[in-house]
Amino acid sequence: SQKIEQNSEALNIQEGKTATLTCNYTNYSPAYLQWYRQDPGRGPVFLLLIRENEKEKRKERLKVTFDTTLKQSLFHITASQPADSATYLCALESSNYKLTFGKGTLLTVNP
């Protein structure tokens, strides 16, 4: 069956460091992968999309990589700030343009 694993439930880092979050998947062949941010009690907010033919995508301090051979995406936040503290969700197209979400990784950036 299809499965998405975000390998850390929680990640704590020091302000200014680079946060790296991992999303692994099995039994998918997604045309694209998306990353969302979710704050407590709120709906997810879209951050980045990367297509299967793209190796890397950047947006300001965010960078996403997509390795379809390893079936893995890495999400990086450089020069992290306490305001980056949130849960980050990986989402894959499952079928008929629907998304399946991972459980998320709770990132805490300590000042």
Binding site: G41, P44, V45, K98
Partner: protein, 113 residues
């Protein structure tokens, strides 16, 4: 900030009551979705719609029903609420086409006593 709204934000009701959770979007998106999310858990798709008069059940079985009479409106109804329905309900919308980014509302936190 996405132009998608959900009401109420919080709802506490007794078992057996009928409830409707409202969701509206002003972006003209054809696709709309309802997700259920328990604390610390992943979002589960319970209903979706690809346009007016189109509704489909999602991956997670739900006793709720939905309707799509207008593009901008996608309400979710529970005919008889039970404590097992206690959860966060999130509505989302996206434009038609590949790789559609989903825009989420703020959610409704439902507690059934």
């Amino acid at each position: 900030e996405a132009d998608i709204y959900q009401t109420p934000r919080y709802l506490v009701i007794g078992t057996g009551k009928k409830i409707t959770l409202e969701c509206s979007q002003t972006m003209g998106h054809d696709k709309m979705y309802w997700y259920q999310q328990d604390p610390g858990m992943e979002l589960h798709l319970i209903h979706y719609s690809y346009g007016v008069n189109s509704t489909e059940k999602g991956d997670l079985s739900s006793e709720s029903t939905v309707s799509r009479i207008r593009t901008e409106h996608f309400p979710l109804t529970l005919e008889s609420a039970r404590p097992s329905h206690t959860s966060q309900y999130l509505c989302a919308s996206s434009e038609a086409g590949l790789a559609d980014t989903q825009y989420f509302g703020p959610g409704t936190r439902l507690t059934v006593l």
